[in-house]
Each structure stands twice: as structure tokens, then as C-alpha cells.
Symmetry: C2
Subunit: 282 residues, 2 copies
């Protein structure tokens, strides 16, 4: 009944003493509750957010539906362990293409502990987060029959430079994604996945409008996940490309100030994606 | 011919071995060129920017006009010293009210030296910059006859909390500014200074649109200066409230990425000012 998901591009995976997520066939995604304060903070966020009447519906749909917590046999068989029961964002898709972008130049906050701060600073200086305002945490793309699934190494992707990140965003909407630098991404899905009135760019702009106003939450170390599948696109099905926010272990009280760290990073991602929509050929 | 300006709310002031700026009666403001790389970076910025054809006129007007450099007898009489010759933003005003807001949660950048980084981190954690995405560096307000000029202590203002910063933004457009916490700012100039189709909020929104697009420069540790005077407002003169960007000693190449650090902080300032325009009474 419960199994390890076929598709996971970022976040904690099972193995090496760590628990990974599980899915069932009813469309739920079970995320192991981290045992430290990250677990309690994420649960507190989902609990508060799911009943917060200040969140408009057109924004709420960008968040996974929360179905409470559930004690499950852990992915490593080590016994019962609490999990967050969430909407499974990819289960309904055939061959989903997924990209996880961690938003914000800074992953730490005023109240953060000194050692967490120093670890973040180190990692931030190793990656292009500071320059970009975001970084790609992982992705997978279903290419054509010859190329198959392209799922580049996470650590390579995370340490990508500005230009490499731009290229990865192009490959995500191409039929010929490849690590081979001689193959130029064809961007043949750019207009349908990123563009259009319901495309990813349009959704990101709706999210941006909310972030220009909302002073309720600050989302540190949170990701925008982008999902699409070619089957739905080609068959003109209703389920087009979709964005969802995920990972809320470092959400803190906004205290009447907008989340300028998230907003700035989001604007940077928007700028790059609109560059691709405007000119897919370069 | 050259004199110490009557009005300066932030930046290096003459004294303690440091050179301060000078003004003359032809509307020029002379800023001493700092002897280290900050001086050469600021000069490089003004030189490049003043001839950069990619900058539209409606954005260029937010920057002081650059008139080259000039060797002047330093403010402390220590001999000839190079100065940047700039447009004097306040000289044409009678009793100007001035607010200097340093924009961006982060004042350092990837390439910054380790000791500069550590100094910034320390100061950033002492102030509300990280929370706010900006901080007020200094201000002065001409109140009514009883209150006179209100020019609170810089270090107190810089270390203001989120709520204190909101209050200071209210006092800036009030006829009764005071450090006395029992006196509620009347915000009687909010609608004419911040609001209106040519007010500060409208100007900040124009600037924001440019920052959502431009990937030429990243402006670290740069300030938005806001200036107005009651005489012009009351006489319905053309010269209304005005914003100018100042301090370019830490401007670096944008390398094809938007300046998400500046943009995020600018959006935070915009959000707070629009709160005051929408509801001046709270």
C-alpha cells in the first residue's frame, strides 16, 4: 500500500539512516516529520496555514493540501514514525518532468542559531544562490526515446553558475535535455510550459503579487516545484504545467513586513523564465 | 565659495580625521573621493552610468547628475583632495525634509572580502535590515514653529525595530515629529508627499519596474533619498517630493541577473509607505 515514490528530485531521500517519503495509491504523499525543531516548525506551519482564512483560494492552490499527520512504518522499516500527510503533486502524471528551485538568496534568519547561520553562509558562497536569489535543487526531464530521462546529479546542479542555471531552465522545457554541452536545448515546450495564460510564468506572477502584499509569513529555505508532463500537454488535457510551494521547516512569522528575501528570489526566477519565453532560440 | 552643506542626514561627515562633503552656490555637491577602492568604485560607477545608453531617461532622473571630478581644498583644510562633482539635491529647497533609506537586507556580495563581510554581518544583526530589507540611515524633518527641526540621533534611528521604522516613516510626513512617544504623528503630509500621481510612492513604483527588468548593475549599500519641503507643497509649486538614489561605492556588475537584494528591500519600503498612504490615521 505504501511505497517509495518513483519521482523525487530534491529533499531528504531514504538511505544512510535517513527516512525518505512514501506515497500511497490514494494520491497522498507522506513526508517523515523531522525529529528536531524543523519537524515541529513544518507541522506548525501546515496546521496554521490550512485554517488561515487570510489566504485567498487562488494562492492556497499553490500549496499542497494538508491531510494531518499519520503514524506509518518508516521507509527503512525501523518502526512506526510520524509523517505529514500531504497532497501528492506528481502521482496523477505520466512521466512527470519536475524542477525544484529553492527560493531566496538567504536561507537563515535573524533568530537562527549561529552554527546554522555559518553552515548556510558556507553553502551559500559555494553555490550561486547569492548571485541568483534562488538555486535549482534538482530536476528530472523526460526527453525523447533516445535520450530517456535526464536527471543530472543534484550537487552539480546546485552548484551551477548563473549561466549554467539559465541553461538548466532551458533544458527543463526541451525534448533533448542532456549533460552534453554540444547539444543545444531545443526549448520546444517553452511556450506551452512556461508561456501562455495558465503557464508557469503566469502562475509565478500571481504568486509574486501576493508576496508584494502579504506580511504574514516569511518562507526561508522553501522551494517552488514546477511539474508538467508531455502526455497532458500533447493531448491538450486540462492538467497543464503547475507550480507548488514545498518545504516549510523554516517558515517564520512575518511580523508586518513582506518576505523580501523570497520575493527578490522569485522575481529573479521570473526574469529568467520570461527571457526564455520571449526568446526561446538563444 | 565652497561650504559645508547645511543639510546632511547620512554618510561621512567632516570631523574626526574624515573629510565631509562641500557645496557651492551653483547647485553642485562635492563628495570627497574615498581613498580606498570604495572611491574608485564610485567614480567608475558614475563614469559608466553617465554615458550608459541603456538607461532610460525616466530612470536616469532618479540619479544625481554627474559633473566629473574636481580637486578641492578639503573640508578640514588639509590640502587639495579629489571630489566627485554631483548635482546638489537639496540646495534649491527651503527647509528641506530629508530621509535616507539604505536599501537591501544584505550589504555585502559574493566577491566581498571576508573582513568586510563579517563587519556587515555584525551590523546587519544589530539593526533591523535583515527583517526589513532596508534601514533608515538618517533623517530630518522641519516640524511646526514649536517643534522646530527634528533630527533624531542616527545610531538610534539605524537600530530602530520594525515598528519604530514604520513610526519614523510616519513622522517624516508629519507636522509634529518628535522623539516623544506620547505624541502621535499626524501624517498630515502623507497624501501629498507619499501619495498622488507624482508622489514618492509613484516614483518608487517606477523605480521598482526598472529593477524587475534591469540586469546591468547590482546596487549594494546604496540609498534612496527622499526630499520635500513644505513651502513648495503649500505654494503648489512644481517641485514636489522627490527620490534620488545615492552612494555607489559598492555597485557591481549584474551579470545578467536582476538585483533581487535591492528589489526585495525596495518592495518592503513600498509596502510600508503604501500602508501609510492607505491609512494615515493608524
Amino acid at each position: 500500500m505504501f511505497k517509495v515514490p518513483d519521482y523525487q528530485v530534491a529533499g531528504h531521500q531514504a538511505g544512510g539512516g535517513k527516512l525518505g517519503p512514501l506515497v500511497d495509491d490514494s494520491g497522498h504523499f507522506y513526508k517523515p516529520l523531522q525529529s528536531d525543531e524543523r519537524g515541529s516548525q513544518e507541522l506548525a506551519f501546515y496546521t496554521a496555514f490550512s485554517t488561515d482564512t487570510r489566504i485567498p483560494d487562488h494562492i492556497r492552490k499553490f500549496f499542497p493540501v494538508f491531510h494531518g499527520t499519520k503514524l506509518l512504518e518508516a521507509s527503512d522499516g525501523s518502526g512506526l514514525s510520524p509523517h505529514l500527510a500531504l497532497e501528492d503533486i506528481v502521482s496523477s502524471r505520466i512521466n512527470p518532468c519536475i524542477l525544484d528551485a529553492k527560493i531566496g538568496a538567504r536561507r537563515w534568519y535573524q533568530q537562527a542559531a549561529e552554527d546554522y547561520l555559518q553552515r548556510c553562509l558556507k553553502k551559500d558562497r559555494e553555490t550561486a544562490s547569492l548571485e541568483l536569489g534562488f538555486r535549482i535543487s534538482g530536476l528530472q526531464v523526460h526527453g525523447n526515446k533516445e535520450t530517456g530521462v535526464w536527471k543530472p546529479d543534484r550537487t552539480v546542479i546546485q552548484r551551477g553558475s548563473v549561466d549554467e542555471t539559465k541553461l538548466t531552465l532551458r533544458k527543463f522545457v526541451s525534448s533533448n535535455p542532456s549533460t552534453d554541452s554540444d547539444i543545444k536545448p531545443d526549448c520546444c515546450f517553452a511556450s506551452t510550459v512556461y508561456g501562455g495564460c495558465n503557464g508557469i510564468l503566469a502562475q509565478l506572477l500571481v504568486l509574486k503579487s501576493w508576496f508584494e502584499e502579504q506580511t504574514i509569513y516569511h518562507f526561508y529555505s522553501c522551494s517552488v516545484m514546477m511539474v508538467y508532463d508531455k502526455e497532458s500537454l500533447q493531448q491538450g488535457k486540462k492538467q497543464g504545467a503547475q507550480i507548488k510551494l514545498v518545504d516549510f521547516a523554516h517558515v517564520i512569522d512575518g511580523k508586518g513586513v513582506i518576505d523580501h528575501n523570497f520575493l527578490g528570489g522569485l522575481c529573479s526566477l521570473i526574469r529568467m523564465i520570461s527571457e526564455i519565453v520571449t526568446d526561446p532560440s538563444t
